[in-house]
């Protein structure tokens, strides 16, 4: 039987992600509400206002770099007196996080970016690589997650234990709330992403909590992924040695992919026979590979409401081909028998700790309004009207270790409320695009290139 009360159940399961005393407005906004998507607007506004005002003051007071940005914009925390004032909080362009130095300076850059105390980090060697620095920070309890676009530039975001735990709790609550009609803790999961224990690539790292949410987790991509391997996979090599590595990775991919598809197909079969509840979570194109195989073999299943699919990371399946979300849902329905209301997409990115999830009723992206404020802005940084398209920007009320007030390279369309369900607050259209000319990015694109054979 699906769980009665998501918050109660998850608070028990995720107790490691909850601090012993919930004291700051950010913590209250995250841990107190019974629901992330179903709060009455007034209550959601109260929590969000508290969290973001608190976060803004925190970064203003503890982050020299961000304080300087605020000074240039002539804004102080005292200027933020209501949600209407949120548009005055200076946004940092996502490009800023790509503008990092290398070697030892990279470590200094990360440390300067942080708004929480930098623990003692020991870095060895005269010219440490990005991976060396990331490992050194990990040793000290700071998760430096990364993501890469097609130019081979990374985005690096440092999360201290506090921020990382809040983010993990948030994605757990967000995903399960929209899938509560399906959820049971003794379900089994298949992660269509890299193993979070073996990488700091964001799509991997962010799904760590899945090991707590379900009883058993299989992983599609079970290899170590460093910044070097990711960059090489994105097609950016610096020397002959890397060129060779690229060839080797591609050559190995064929066998690994075959193995991956086989494991998925066998798992589906096994789970079906045992009558298990299952969850696929991750890049849609990877599940699509298994669906292709099942179709070739003429197999189909009828998991019905026992199955769920939670996708994320974008919909590109080939160099110039997108997989339409609806087509994907239809295939999932046809081949696995999983109904569309159990097949949801989650929108997230390395820079944020806010997880927008499709509602089962209409597949619009809902915002966890209790701590996360979305702005959709035009070229001048002004909010667009409801029904209009613009650049996705956000104010993150639970990013403590870095200022999470960021404008992104994604294009979204915002509506005042969901056309399909009764949940309050604005929603985004079911599909997100890149702003033209912004480098192609997206976790699924990273995954696609990592396992690309050719």
């Amino acid at each position: 039987m699906p769980v009665e009360n998501v918050k109660e159940t998850l608070d028990e399961i995720l107790h490691d992600y909850i601090p012993s005393s919930i004291s700051t407005p950010s913590e209250k906004a995250l841990y107190e509400p019974d629901t992330f998507y179903g709060l009455p607007q007034k209550k959601a506004d109260e929590y969000r206002y508290g969290a973001i005002k608190y976060a803004f003051r925190h970064h203003y007071e503890n982050n020299r770099f961000y304080r300087e940005v605020c000074r240039e914009n002539g804004v102080t925390p005292d200027d933020i007196r209501s949600i209407d004032d949120f548009s005055r909080i200076p946004l940092i362009t996502h490009k800023f996080f790509k503008d990092y130095p290398s070697g030892r300076d990279f470590a200094v850059w990360l440390a300067n970016l942080m708004s929480t105390e930098v623990p003692k980090v020991v870095i060895k060697g005269k010219n440490p690589s990005f991976d060396d620095v990331i490992d050194a920070f990990a040793e000290a309890g700071v998760v430096v997650a990364f993501s890469s676009g097609t130019t081979g530039k990374f985005t690096f975001i440092p999360r201290d234990a506090w921020t990382y735990k809040m983010g993990q709790y948030a994605i757990g609550r967000s995903a399960i709330e929209m899938l509560k009609h399906w959820y049971e803790p003794d379900a089994s999961g298949f992660l269509l992403f890299p193993n979070p224990k073996k990488t700091n690539i964001y799509v991997g790292k962010v799904t760590n909590v899945m090991y707590d949410l379900v009883k058993d987790v299989q992983v599609a991509i079970d290899r170590e992924i460093t910044t070097q391997i990711l960059r090489i996979s994105m097609g950016v090599t610096f020397n002959f040695k890397e060129k060779m590595m690229s060839k080797m990775i591609k050559a190995a991919s064929k066998k690994m992919n075959e193995d991956m598809v086989k494991r998925m197909v066998n798992w589906i079969d096994e789970m079906y026979k045992k009558g298990e509840r299952i969850l696929f979570a991750g890049a849609p194109f990877i599940l699509n590979m298994a669906l292709d195989r099942l179709e070739e073999e003429g197999k189909s299943y009828d998991f019905g409401e026992r199955g769920a699919v939670l996708t994320g990371g974008g919909w590109k399946i080939h160099e110039d081909k997108r997989l339409p979300v609806e087509v994907f849902r239809e295939r999932v329905g046809k081949i696995l028998g999983i109904p569309p209301e159990n097949c949801l997409d989650l929108y997230a990115m390395v820079e944020s700790n806010g997880f927008l999830v499709h509602c089962p009723e209409g597949h619009y992206f809902h915002i966890p309004q209790n701590y996360f404020h979305v702005r959709v802005i035009d070229d001048d940084g002004e909010d667009v009207a409801y029904g209009e398209e613009g650049r996705f920007a956000f104010l993150d009320g639970i990013a403590m270790s870095y200022p999470g007030f960021i404008s992104t390279g994604d294009k979204v369309k915002i509506h005042e409320r969901c056309p399909a369900c009764g949940r309050e607050g604005p929603v985004l259209e079911p599909e997100v695009e890149r702003i033209k000319g912004e480098e192609i990015r997206g976790c699924a694109e990273e995954m696609r290139r990592i396992i690309m054979e050719e």
Partner: protein, 321 residues
């Protein structure tokens, strides 16, 4: 001699070979996939060429005995498609203040001349004087002209080439107007090659990007580039690991390019040239209305605020061993 060849960059550096060769297969793929479209586009181009007009300047007359730099030092001597000893180049360099003005002022005059007068157009590779006579050229043409004029006036100059990703307005204006270009760009996620020049003044290499005329910059909402402004992060994002500094262009750099723009994809090239020309007209209106200085000041302020600078302060808890 081999060393000189290598220094001058006559032999294509491995990195450049990789950048260009790596980009070509996806272009060829795109072209092969749409043969009818390409043919139609080329036919249409023949009937409907784009007219960029005559240059708006006169090339000053060369007078025997005009001073110019005859040095064979690196970055001063002639290189492929960049000849500072050409008469028209010497005459223009003198006209722009070579050997009369302080180095910075001379370089600034050269920069402004190339920037304001040479319109960006995707023509085949040719010599610096061809660019000067025609008044149009790609960024690489313009760099060659800039470098030749600087070198003629005794200032060292070199090329800095890289692959890049473009900002949205440029993508819309240059890439999206050609479906072929668009497929190519989208497949690579970047544009094959762009460059800026660098000129050596007072012991420092100063970056110069004369690619766009002010009209085009205004149409794209970009600040009006000055000598010393680096376009990286303003309108382009270089691909990691593709930046190369060269004294000169390699031989053969133009072969594939010329085949492409003069023959294979001439129609697409004309579409892009036309789109850029239309944009320049709109940009002229913007500048006339606002005034160049006012326009630049307002846009520049917006851009400077865009990517904040972080100062790397020492953090006591970071220990380097």
């Amino acid at each position: 001699m081999f060393r000189e060849w290598r220094e001058k960059g006559y032999i294509m550096p491995a990195r450049m070979l990789r950048v260009t060769m790596g980009a070509l297969p996806s272009l060829i793929k795109v072209l092969l996939r749409h043969p009818v479209y390409v043919m139609k586009s080329n036919l249409a181009a023949r009937k409907n060429a784009v007219d960029l007009g005559r240059p708006s300047y006169e090339i000053p007359e060369y007078v025997e005995g005009m001073p110019y730099c005859k040095s064979n030092e690196r970055y001063l001597r002639p290189t492929h498609l960049c000849n500072p000893h050409a008469k028209e180049i010497i005459a223009l360099a003198n006209h722009l203040g070579a050997y009369k003005l302080p180095d910075w002022e001379f370089a600034e005059n050269v920069f402004n001349f190339v920037k304001k007068n040479i319109k960006l157009a995707f023509v085949g590779m040719d010599r610096e004087v061809d660019t000067l006579r025609r008044g149009t050229g790609t960024c690489v043409h313009q760099l060659s002209l800039f470098a030749a004029l600087c070198r003629a006036g005794g200032l060292k100059a070199r090329y800095k080439l890289y692959s890049l990703a473009l900002v949205e307005p440029l993508y819309e204006n240059m890439i999206e107007v050609s479906p072929i270009m668009k497929s190519w760009y989208d497949a690579l996620g970047s544009f094959m090659l762009h460059g800026t020049a660098e000129v050596y003044i007072d012991g420092e290499w100063v970056v110069a990007d004369p690619t766009f005329t002010p009209e085009y910059e205004a149409a794209m909402g970009l600040p009006l580039a000055k000598l010393g402004d680096d376009p990286m992060g303003i309108w382009n994002y270089p691909l990691e690991g593709t930046v190369m500094l060269l004294e000169g262009l390699p031989y053969g750099v133009g072969v594939a390019w010329n085949f492409l723009v003069n023959f294979l994809a001439k129609g697409e090239r004309i579409k892009i040239d036309r789109s850029m020309n239309e944009a320049r007209k709109k940009g002229r209106e913007i500048l006339d209305e606002m005034g160049e200085e006012e326009y630049d000041a307002s846009v520049r302020a917006k851009y400077e605020a865009k990517i904040p600078k972080i100062t790397l302060e020492k953090v006591p808890n970071l220990v380097f061993e």
